[in-house]
Every structure is written in structure tokens, then in C-alpha cells.
């Protein structure tokens, strides 16, 4: 078991620790890096090292950024009184890519997951409550994922905000683009009907 790994095996085993990467992909990537023209591998290695040394966590929204507060939190063109609550930084990035949200964010850093022993005290909720209680926020948009853990987390955040003067909304659920009614589960179909809107609105 403890024999020395070859350099290729070391890269494969390191890549395999990344989410969504299996043995096959890891091996393909390792051979790609081996054969790639000169700056490709060294650029990647340096970028990874700098990722850990140059990135800080934004003190307001808790997303990783090159400075704190981050460029989103300090952007004066954004609608500062709307805060979108997401589970992870990757969710923030996904909403930013969509391009139609102009408010600010709060990253919870996870979801309630009792089966993993993750309870309310493991979520980053205090700073969000502070922002709301300080009167900085008109609307909190709960954008946790529509799975049981994400739903329970949305419920928990809403419950924590119940005594605050703030509008709490939940992102809409419905038919996925390119979806097919025949293949969509019935909870999604039901919610699509509940969340319908006037045509052309």
C-alpha cells in the first residue's frame, strides 16, 4: 500500500480528490498536463498556489474575493437594499452569470443537514440578521436549493427573520427550461402551477 507513487499517479490521486472528478477524468487530465505546451501546467500550478494566498473572505457577504469588502458589496450601482441568501459561493457565481440580479448577497456557508450533524449553529446567519436589524435591507431573497436541506434552511432563515421589518421572498420553482411535463416529478408540476403568472407579465 505504501509504495511510492509515480509523478503521474500523484497528480491523478490529487485530482481525484476534487468534486465530480473520477479516475477516468483525473487520468485524462494528468496526461493532458504532461503533454501540454510549457506554460499550461506551470500557470495552473501557480494559479492554485495564489488562490490560497491571495483570496480573502468578504466581511459583508462572505464570498471569497481578492479584497474585503468584495467588488459586489462596494459596487454603488447595485441595489444595496436587496439581499440574496445563497448556500455556497458557487451559487452566487451562478446567479451573477444569469446577469439580472442587481442586489447584494449573503453566503450562508452550507445548509441544515441533520444527518451530517449540521444544525442551525453551523450556519452563518448572525451577520445577515445584523444587516437586517440595522435597517440596511428591504428584501431578503431566499435562494437556497429546492431540495429538502435547502428548503429547511430557507424555512429556518425565514423563521429567524420573522420579527424583522423586511420582505422575505423565496426564489420561484417551476418547470425547467427544456423540460418535459411528462418527465417532471409531480412536486415540480404542482409548484409550477402554484407559481404561474399572467401571460406576458
Amino acid at each position: 500500500m505504501t509504495q511510492l507513487l509515480t509523478p503521474i499517479e500523484r497528480v491523478v490521486s490529487a485530482l481525484r480528490r476534487l468534486p465530480g472528478i473520477g479516475e477516468k477524468t483525473a487520468t485524462r487530465l494528468a496526461y493532458f498536463l504532461l503533454a501540454a505546451p510549457d506554460p499550461v501546467a506551470s500557470d495552473l500550478a501557480e494559479a492554485i498556489v495564489r488562490l490560497r494566498s491571495d483570496v480573502v473572505i468578504c466581511e459583508r457577504c462572505f464570498t471569497p474575493s481578492e479584497r474585503s469588502p468584495c467588488p459586489i458589496c462596494t459596487d454603488e450601482n447595485r441595489q444595496g437594499r436587496q439581499v440574496c441568501v445563497v448556500e455556497e459561493p458557487a451559487d452566487l457565481a451562478s446567479i451573477e452569470r444569469a446577469g439580472n440580479f442587481q442586489g447584494l448577497y449573503h453566503v450562508l456557508g452550507g445548509t441544515l443537514s441533520p444527518l451530517d450533524g449540521i444544525g442551525p449553529d453551523a450556519l452563518r446567519i448572525g451577520p445577515l440578521l445584523q444587516r437586517v436589524r440595522a435597517g440596511e435591507v428591504d428584501e431578503v431573497i431566499l435562494a437556497t436549493n429546492p431540495n429538502p436541506e435547502g428548503e429547511a434552511t430557507a424555512l429556518f432563515v425565514a423563521d429567524q427573520l420573522r420579527d424583522c421589518e423586511v420582505l422575505v421572498t423565496r426564489i420561484g420553482f417551476g418547470m425547467p427550461l427544456g423540460g418535459d411535463l411528462e418527465y417532471v416529478d409531480r412536486v415540480t408540476v404542482r409548484r409550477s402551477l402554484e407559481n404561474r403568472r399572467a401571460f406576458g407579465a
Binding site: 468534486p19 465530480g20 472528478i21 473520477g22 477516468k24 477524468t25 441595489q79 436587496q82 439580472n100 440580479f101 442587481q102 442586489g103 441544515l112 441533520p114 444527518l115 451530517d116 450533524g117 449540521i118 444544525g119 442551525p120 449553529d121 428584501e139 431573497i141 431566499l142 431540495n147 429538502p148 436541506e149 428548503e151 429547511a152 430557507a154 424555512l155 429556518f156 425565514a158 423563521d159 420573522r162 420582505l167 422575505v168 421572498t169 423565496r170 426564489i171 420561484g172 420553482f173 425547467p176 423540460g179 418535459d180 418527465y183 417532471v184 416529478d185 409531480r186 412536486v187 415540480t188 402554484e194 407559481n195 404561474r196 403568472r197 407579465a201
Partner: protein
């Protein structure tokens, strides 16, 4: 290759490799199994909306020879667990049940009665306003079915009835209520009537728990007794126990107030309107 069709509850799910999910199921015919759902992460059509915790499914499982894991071939949603996430108390109680099925049952030890009991508890939870007594009784009923039934009306040491007494010792190491001869010195004394009512509670449908006449103060006392009982006899700390106690502290299990009772979506403006205002702002 052996193929099974059975009812199943989804206990846990994990991402597995690049496109699959590993699913822990408690099935009617096979007991607890782990199965790979091929392509479940990649394709929306393969297992649409089914592989989430609390879901009750009809599944088709194959057991390929020499393969380590069974393979989930198909799944039809019979009862979604959605109502369980509309209240944090329900979510906490249902999660504890899943954890007990996931960690306290043997792999492929079929126990259809335990399956029907568990599916029934989830169905009841979907419609109940959860309170601390409900959480306690679900735990006790489940423990009893898993073989960890506490002694509540007869001495765990010598078997003589203790329910006629005023207060009895609750000796965790012995397995529950103990008479004065069998009790160890440090075991806490509790009202015999409380233990007797819990014994009735184990056999009473959850919906009728209000008729047991167990006051809130006694429920809290029993919670402490049985958290030590579980630790001692089950030999592990349930991950959901701490969650449940945090939810209790948030008063989501006080039964009187409707805290956390409304899903945010149904309480606030319709989602379409919310999205519209976001666009205008």
C-alpha cells in the same frame, strides 16, 4: 442477475463519481441497502425529483454478481417528503428516524414491519403539528422496534412490577426502571406514572398522544433520560440528536405556536410577483 422490486424510503444520498448518486434506502423487502443510481446527476429524466431524503418510492434494484454495490434501475415517487420540510420540527423528527434506520439496522436485514412502521410515521408527521412529545414518542417507538425497548413498568433487574410505586429509579445501564433492590445508587428517581404513560405511549397511535396526559415538564425529564439511554445502549451519538435539541431550543417543537409553520413561499407574495419586483428594482 437478481432483480428486486420493492417499496423504499430514501435515507441519504451522496454524489458518486462524475454522474452518479449513491443512495441509502430502507426497503420493504431487503431492509437497508446502498445502491448506485447511474446517471442520476447528469440526467434530469433518469430519476426526476425522486432521490431526495424522506421520499417514499417504488424501486427496481438489481444485484449484479461480484459487484460491490447494488444498482438502482428505476424509481417511481409514491409519496414526496415535501410536507416534512415545511416545518423545522417535522424535519428534525423525520431526520432522526432516517438516521436510526440508516445507522442502527443491519445491511440487507429485511424487516417489513419496521419499514411499514417508518413509512407510517413519515405519513403521520406530514400532517401533524410537531411537539416535543411527538419527537420523544417517535424515538421510543423506533427504539422499541430496533430491539432497544426500555423497561418502563417492570424492574429491568428482577422483573417485578414497579408501576404501583410513587417514584422509581431509572437505571440506564440496567435497561430502564428498577426496583429499590436492583437500583444502583446514582440512578435518577422518576415518577412511576410517567414511565407507565410512556409505556402506553409506545403502543398508542402518534395522533392520539394528547390523550396520554403527559405534561410538558415530564416530557423534558423523559428527553434527558432517553438521550442517556440511547447513548448507553446504542453505543453511538446520533448526529440528529444535537440538531433536534437545537430545534427544541428554537421553540419549533413547543406545539402551541406556529413558528416555522408556513413555508416562506406561501406566506409571502407569489414567487412570480417577487421575481417581477426584483427585475424592476
Amino acid at each position: 442477475m437478481p432483480e428486486y422490486r420493492t417499496a423504499a424510503l430514501v435515507l441519504r444520498t451522496f454524489d458518486h463519481g462524475e454522474s452518479d448518486r449513491l443512495v441509502h434506502l430502507y426497503t420493504e423487502k431487503l431492509g437497508r441497502v446502498s445502491a448506485i443510481a447511474k446517471g442520476a446527476r447528469r440526467s434530469q429524466r433518469r430519476f426526476p425529483g425522486t432521490l431526495e431524503i424522506f421520499s417514499k418510492l417504488e424501486v427496481q434494484i438489481v444485484d449484479p454478481p461480484r459487484a460491490q454495490l447494488m444498482r438502482l434501475e428505476g424509481a417511481v415517487l409514491v409519496e414526496p417528503g415535501e410536507p416534512l420540510v415545511q416545518h423545522l420540527g417535522r424535519f428534525a423528527i423525520a431526520s432522526q428516524l432516517l438516521e436510526m434506520l440508516d445507522r442502527l439496522t443491519g445491511e440487507r436485514e429485511a424487516n417489513p414491519e419496521l419499514f411499514h412502521f417508518s413509512a407510517g410515521v413519515l405519513t403521520v408527521l406530514c400532517a401533524e403539528r410537531p411537539d416535543r412529545l411527538l419527537a420523544l414518542l417517535v424515538q421510543l417507538k423506533t427504539l422499541a422496534r430496533l430491539g432497544y425497548r426500555p423497561q418502563l413498568v417492570a424492574c429491568a433487574g428482577c422483573g417485578q412490577p414497579v408501576s404501583g410505586r410513587d417514584r422509581v429509579a431509572f437505571d440506564v445501564a440496567h435497561g430502564g426502571a428498577t426496583c429499590p433492590d436492583c437500583a444502583s445508587g446514582e440512578a435518577p428517581r422518576v415518577p412511576a406514572s410517567l414511565l407507565a404513560r410512556l409505556e402506553v405511549g409506545i403502543r398508542t397511535p402518534l395522533r392520539q398522544r394528547g390523550e396520554l396526559g403527559i405534561p410538558d415538564r415530564a416530557v423534558r425529564q423523559a428527553e434527558r433520560l432517553f438521550s442517556r439511554f440511547v447513548l448507553f445502549h446504542v453505543g453511538l451519538e446520533l448526529r440528529t440528536a444535537d440538531f433536534l435539541s437545537q430545534i427544541r431550543d428554537l421553540e419549533c417543537l413547543d406545539g402551541k405556536r406556529a413558528r416555522g409553520d408556513t413555508a416562506p413561499a406561501s406566506g409571502a407574495a407569489p414567487a412570480g410577483a417577487a421575481a417581477g419586483s426584483a427585475g424592476r428594482a
